[in-house]
């Protein structure tokens, strides 16, 4: 049996985990049976909740929850000014440009990789629950256009979550894998991936199981979120104008509005009109009808921004749109009819009698592809043994030369792993240090590109200026992450490199975060057990109340009535406290006290004569579902893992 590696789509809006079941990739649902785990994290005095459980907090007390944190990965204060206008991110007050961002949440501070780690941990638990065993390795997808810092931040999130990310795969490439698995057809395909927060376009050449990415382009800050923000801005304007109340700073109204606007957006993909309907804090209601035509006019500038990357990718691959055999649509935003119309136009699809591929659920296809890649890496199945992914780096790698211009050393769209060797020398006699600035991007000037890191070549043997010959090797690995090594050739000495990543966490910081998350985890576990026990207590009390209306109730003896009443009262009292063991004991007591009633009820049922049922099972019969809270899958925090 090959090693167990899962595939994870760590999305801006939703995240999923999948694995290869035989020859087919499948999604692992959460305990609530739902495949999508919203990428929402809430921190309240009761603990940390993730996914659907956190969404409730997002609506009730928005300041305690965070979503779309993927937009903040690998970025600093100066990068995110635009985001801050629309996203209620509560940044720490003492942040400085160049630092890893910290978000205030429930009285604590979290970096974006830690937020992502919590989402990853939830997916890990879902998978562990499903397999009934530990899951320690994963393939995780990232937008193809993610830069080095954003990729590094994603890898850090994995480490914090206790998950070894064996490979980062570009999202559109993963989608191509999911689609290409069973179609052993060769040809050129374009993957148009328009998600919640990012846009990617990739062009691939398929040849006998080899998926060779030829060109990729995109925008890591363009997605459905941007359309939502436009709609929200208009609604707020409306409210300010017509209703004379400015709600721009009101987090709760903003969240309610966001939820409303997203629902309207989704409805408009199928219907011609949709309603906005939001209750304002003063009790009045904001009502507005939006037609699809209005929506499309509004969203047009956002959608149109996907066209230029598509044309650039075609140009880079030296292909005409008509040469593209298949177009695959990925991401929730591709459900919008206007988006489909644009794709049709760019690749002249209907003119050629073709249709884009939408057979696989656009929300799930990336995770399915990640599962396929995981299987390739595990090397354990006949379904994938012929498959090989040759991916590329989306951005050119360069070094800052004299005068601030960039000397490109690895061009964009180079197949990874890729490397380049550069030689440096000294400018002054006896100089023992050389500073190198590495950047990523397409612009001429280093100041217009993304700064990746500054390297100091140290301990160069003192020589006449221009004599030392320092060979520096830059290597972009299969994850799209940069590695650097250096050697002084005249002396043969390995030059010491001190790397200062411009953005990102140091190894030490990641280490402390791993520990911190375990500390929190214990506290969170305790909190969660209390919440679960309380929920269960309420369920059983509700079932007892409802049971009193049942004819079988009248068959109980006065002693039994007393026992039930006592047990109920006791549970009512105990569940106010925080001792989950006491709550559990009280639940069991009430359950025992009502056992005969449950049996009577069962007996009275016409077709059912199953004995030995408990109140909880009886509750099912009464239509009161004993809903288990699904905030987390049952968690086991293995202390041994703590290093």
């Amino acid at each position: 049996m090959a090693e167990r590696i899962v595939g994870i789509d760590l999305g801006t809006t939703n995240s999923l985990v999948g694995f290869m079941q035989g020859a087919e990739p499948v999604i692992i649902p959460g305990e609530d049976g739902v495949n999508l785990v919203p990428s929402v994290v809430a921190v309240t005095p009761q603990g940390i909740s993730i996914g659907n459980a956190a969404r409730a907090t997002l609506l009730a007390s928005p300041a305690d929850a965070v979503y779309s944190a993927k937009r903040l990965m690998g970025r600093d204060l100066t990068d995110v000014q635009d985001e801050l206008k629309f996203f209620p991110f509560q940044l720490a007050d003492d942040l400085k440009p160049g630092e890893v961002l910290r978000l205030k949440l429930g009285g604590r501070e979290f970096t974006p990789p830690e937020i992502s780690a919590l989402v990853l941990q939830q997916l890990k638990k879902n998978a562990e629950r499903f397999f009934g065993g530990p899951v320690t390795k994963a393939v995780v997808t990232v937008p193809a256009y993610f830069n080095d810092a954003q990729r590094q931040a994603t890898k850090d999130a994995g480490r914090i979550a206790g998950l070894e990310i064996v490979r980062l795969v570009n999202e559109p490439t993963a989608a191509a894998l999911a689609y290409g698995l069973n179609k052993k057809r060769d040809g050129l395909i374009a993957v148009y991936d328009f998600g919640g927060g990012t846009f990617d376009i990739s062009i691939l050449k398929l040849h006998e199981g080899i998926f060779e990415v030829i060109a990729t382009n995109g925008d890591t800050h363009l997605g459905g979120d941007d359309i939502d923000n436009l709609l929200i801005a208009i609604a707020l304007d409306d409210i300010a104008g017509d209703m004379q109340v400015d709600l721009r700073g009101n987090g709760e109204v903003l969240q309610a509005l966001r939820k409303n606007v997203i629902e309207a957006k989704i409805a408009l993909s199928a219907n011609e009109t949709a309603q906005l309907d939001v209750r304002l804090p003063d009790g009045r209601k904001y009502l507005r009808e939006i037609t699809r035509a209005q929506f499309e006019q509004l969203a047009a500038p956002v959608i149109a921004r996907t066209a230029a990357p598509c044309r650039q990718a075609l140009k880079d691959s030296q292909l005409a749109p008509e040469q593209i055999d298949e177009v695959v649509l990925v991401g929730g935003s591709t459900r919008i009819p206007a988006v489909r119309a644009l794709v049709d136009e760019i690749f002249s699809l209907s003119a050629r009698g073709r249709k884009p591929h939408t057979e696989l659920n656009p929300d799930e296809v990336v995770a399915l592809g990640a599962a396929v890649q995981a299987d390739i890496l595990a090397g354990g199945s006949a379904a994938t043994e012929e498959l090989l992914l040759l991916d590329i780096t989306p951005l050119s790698l360069g070094i800052e030369a004299l005068g601030g211009v960039v000397a490109k050393i690895i061009p964009r769209n180079s197949t990874i792993p890729a490397s380049a060797t550069e030689h440096f020398t000294t400018g002054v006699d006896g100089q023992t240090n050389v500073a190198i600035h590495v950047v990523q991007g397409e612009r001429e000037l280093a100041s217009d590109c993304r700064s990746l890191a500054r390297f100091d070549l140290k301990n160069i043997p003192p020589m006449t200026a221009g004599i030392p010959r320092i060979e520096v090797k830059f290597l972009i690995d299969a994850n799209g992450i940069l590695h650097v090594s250096a050697r002084e050739q005249r002396s043969g000495q390995v030059a010491e490199i001190e790397v200062k990543p411009t953005y990102g966490l140091t190894d030490e910081q990641v280490e402390t975060m791993i520990l911190a998350s375990f500390d929190y985890a214990e506290q969170d576990l305790a909190n969660r057990q209390v919440i679960e026990a309380r929920n269960e207590a309420e369920t059983i009390i509700a079932a007892v109340e409802k049971g009193a209306a049942h004819p079988a109730w009248q068959q109980l003896t006065p002693e039994e009535f007393d026992q039930i009443a006592d047990a109920r009262e006791h549970l009512d009292e105990v569940k106010k406290g925080t001792d989950y063991k006491a709550i559990r004991a009280a639940i069991d007591a009430l359950d025992r006290a009502t056992r005969r009633f449950a049996e009577l009820m069962m007996d009275s049922a016409v077709s059912s004569a199953i004995k030995g049922q408990t109140m909880q099972a009886a509750g099912d019969g009464l239509g009161v579902a004993p809903t288990a809270p699904h905030a987390f899958a049952p968690a086991e925090f293995e202390k041994e893992e703590k290093k």
Binding site: L377, G379, L390, G403, S414, P417, A418, S419, I476, A478
Partner: protein
């Protein structure tokens, strides 16, 4: 393997006429053997070795499949320092504070002189908010002319490849050197013309 050149990675002689379809086939076959995905379950040392080999393979393929990159790479192997020349020109320009100038290929002197005049006039017009449709037309046709030249360099280059390859086969140093010199001149001209086209595009795109 790390000491071998890109031609050797594909077991090819140092020749320039290349069957790119065959190159791709070999590349895919080698990728199946060397890609890091194939080494996910091996030791760290094996993974690192595979990473080095796979990146070398990719670097070699990226360079050899593109005609210009292949030619430049071969010239570098033959001791021509194309990059150095350009770097030196950049540094010299910086030191003197002057704009970096490339030497105008002699056969282009007249056309370049006229083009620069037109570009200057166009920029002035832009500044003054004036419109000169005839000038825009002239620039567009100049651009087409230079683009034609770019396309022609490809044919010229292929002729020189054949000369180089013949020199290699005959082990004729004189023939090789002559082909080498002509290729250097042609690549310089090409990069010069490409910059011209870029300049014209910049001016035209401001409309």
């Amino acid at each position: 393997m790390t000491d071998s050149n890109y031609f050797a990675v594909f077991s090819l002689p140092r020749k320039l006429v290349l069957d790119t379809a065959a190159l791709e086939k070999t590349y895919y076959a080698q990728s199946r053997k060397l890609h890091p995905d194939r080494f996910a379950a091996t030791s760290v040392a094996e993974q690192e070795a595979a990473l080095a080999e796979a990146s070398r393979l990719n670097d070699a393929y990226r360079t050899l499949k593109e005609p210009i990159a292949r030619t430049e790479y071969l010239l570098t192997l033959e001791g021509v320092q194309l990059e150095e020349q350009s770097k030196r020109a950049t540094d010299a320009a910086r030191a003197s504070g002057a704009e970096k100038k490339q030497i105008t290929p002699p056969d282009l002197l007249e056309e370049v002189f006229e083009l620069n005049m037109q570009l200057e006039e166009m920029r002035m017009n832009r500044k003054m908010g004036e419109d000169d449709p005839q000038l825009a037309k002239d620039l567009a046709s100049a651009k087409a002319n230079f683009e034609g030249m770019l396309a022609a360099t490809q044919t010229e280059l292929e002729a020189l490849w054949a000369k180089w390859d013949a020199g290699v086969d005959a082990d004729d140093t004189t023939a090789k050197d002559s082909a080498k010199e002509k290729m250097v001149a042609l690549l310089n001209k090409r990069s010069y013309v490409r910059n011209l086209v870029r300049d014209v595009n910049e001016v035209l795109e401001q409309e």
